[in-house]
Amino acid sequence: MASSYRDGIRAGLPLLLPTAAIGVSFGVVARSLGWDLGAPIVMSAVVFSGSAQFASTSVLGDGGTVLAAVLAAALVNARFLPMGIAFAPALSGGPVRRAAEGQAVVDASWALANRGGSFDRKLLIGATIPQFVGWFGGTVGGAVAGSAIGDPARLGLDAMFPAFFLALLAGELRESRRAREVAVGAGAIALALTPLLPPGLPIVAAALAAVAGARRR
């Protein structure tokens, strides 16, 4: 039942290309704002979160302060707090090792490694590897080539992520009626709050549907 790192890498492989493409667009966007060549590359290596990086970059690009940029990105990443708590029971070893392994949590890997509320540690870490390679490599390519590359959105790669998440969601929905009810509630919350709150918070708020669903059992 438990998977190897190799199983994880194989599970994450379909995401290599779309992650790289979004990485390219991040590199291009950062350079177009006048960033040094190294800045987007270092950022992708040490932050490794597409939505948070785009959020902070757009705040800085609009003339916002460092505090506003960091806050926007932190809100986008706030969902990793409950996701990390959910992943934690699968980890062993000392706190430093657990903290390090917790860095592997990204949306797709977390969802792939989810086994009805418990998590397959090696599958999660393995699935993150191709995504990190794609994200870092794509950023380097985009930062170096700059605007010589056309708009990656032309290829429709931005539709791959919601499609991937939808496939994982379909598996969850086949499991139970309560999962379907929670998904409908969470989706309604996220859509209703998107025009009202900064990016990221609607997704965190949608997680409250899971709390409500669990209380009703």
Partner: protein
């Protein structure tokens, strides 16, 4: 450029801190029963939110653009039990085709 590098440094620390909190505080231990119930439902909740926000969200607005037909095609493929890779490639192809035509 100082603002950019400061942002990168702070964000790296904060992101790592957010991801480390759960593993450091509750790592290796079983969660209480009520928390397990929530976590079982966390995946459908977060995935549903991510699908909709990444299909219709554009910063602080809801928009209907070429992503929607791509994701609709993926939904059809999923209903027909198509393989995962085919599903995501189909979504990209349909979105790219709609973008090219509009």
């Amino acid at each position: 450029m100082t603002a950019v590098w400061t942002t990168i440094g702070l964000l790296a620390l904060i992101s790592a801190g957010i991801k480390a909190t759960g593993p450091v505080l509750v790592g290796g231990r079983d969660l209480p029963g009520w928390a397990t119930g929530v976590i079982e439902l966390l995946a459908p909740a977060l995935l549903a939110a991510l699908v909709l926000v990444e299909t219709f969200g554009s910063d602080r607005a809801l928009v209907l653009d070429a992503r929607a037909p791509g994701v609709a095609a993926a939904a059809l493929a999923i209903a027909l039990r198509a393989p995962l890779l085919l599903t995501v490639v189909l979504a990209a192809a349909v979105t790219a085709a709609v973008r090219a035509l509009t």
